[in-house]
Amino acid sequence: MTSIVINRRSLLIAGGAVLAAGASGLLLPARAEGLAPTASMSGGANNYLKGAAIVDRIGKGGFWMSGTVRRAGDGAPLAGQRIQIWAHTTEGQEHEPQSHGATLTDKNGAFRLEMPQIIPIFGQPHGHLAYDSGEFKTVFLRPVMKSAKETSLEAHFVLQPA
């Protein structure tokens, strides 16, 4: 035999849960509606070479650069978007052509490109990514690794129509 005891605590928890569910249901689409475009980061375009070739891997690989590309406003994933990636790695300096490569996003708007290990340059271990294909406004990102020992780095784009 089970009896349902409604005391003040259970009422508060249940009420809170309903409120939270309701609020998130209301807030999430609202937030997605207003998904702000990613701004270019300062220094992001440094040593950019326009039109890097789409490659399976930059150099010998060993390090993974990944991220997503979404549309500003509704946050819809953007497939087939070209993302260019470059960095100072164990196989070349930032401005050297072999340090550059590009990849396309999949149907979920995700991209992933293997590249050589990024090493600190100008005092910070960092990578560079660019969306510069014309359909949306150009964005340059410059994410910094928490430690030079890390073997992956992420960067996310929210693009707005050009």
Partner: protein, 207 residues
Amino acid sequence: MKSARVILIWAAFAAAICVPIAAATMSPQLEWRGPVYILAGFAGMIALGVMLVQPLLIGGYLPGLPARIGRRIHHWTGGALVVAVVIHVAGLWITSPPDMIDALTYTSPTPFSPFGVTAMWAIFAVALLATFRRRLRLRTWRIAHTLLAIVIVAGSVVHAILIEGTMETFTKAALCALVLASTIKVMTELRVWRKRTALRGETIARQ
């Protein structure tokens, strides 16, 4: 006994500057850097080393080098500091022009850049003031130099500590701590802001 102390002080002084630079030559980062970038990095370290020399010379803390002689050497090492900073900046400019332009225009994403660039301008300002020193009132010159030296030392130490580069963390921190400590020691002992001390020092400084 006295000579042992002299040797010990000089050995500690040499080690304070040479050990961090020697440690940096072991850095694995060097393998992936070009010669100009490596030169620029070491010029920066030498500049930091000179910043330890400067207050020690002025304070007369090195045995066999009283402040009277130390002050003369201080002028030359000050000139060397300007040269080292110019090589540091020029080398980094050649390595990556856009990154150096960002730094010089205070638009760099790296937090240490504005500290280094501010220290650089303060070093140039001291060098410029030093060339016109005889036209300045002694007290004006000493206060101006002291204030700029505070900017130089504080800026350079923060700059060096925040950089993830070829310097080994512990030896870099130790050198920075010694630069700070010797600067604070010489400034508090000389009391440049005091009129009386300034006048007493005048006969020496004008030589």
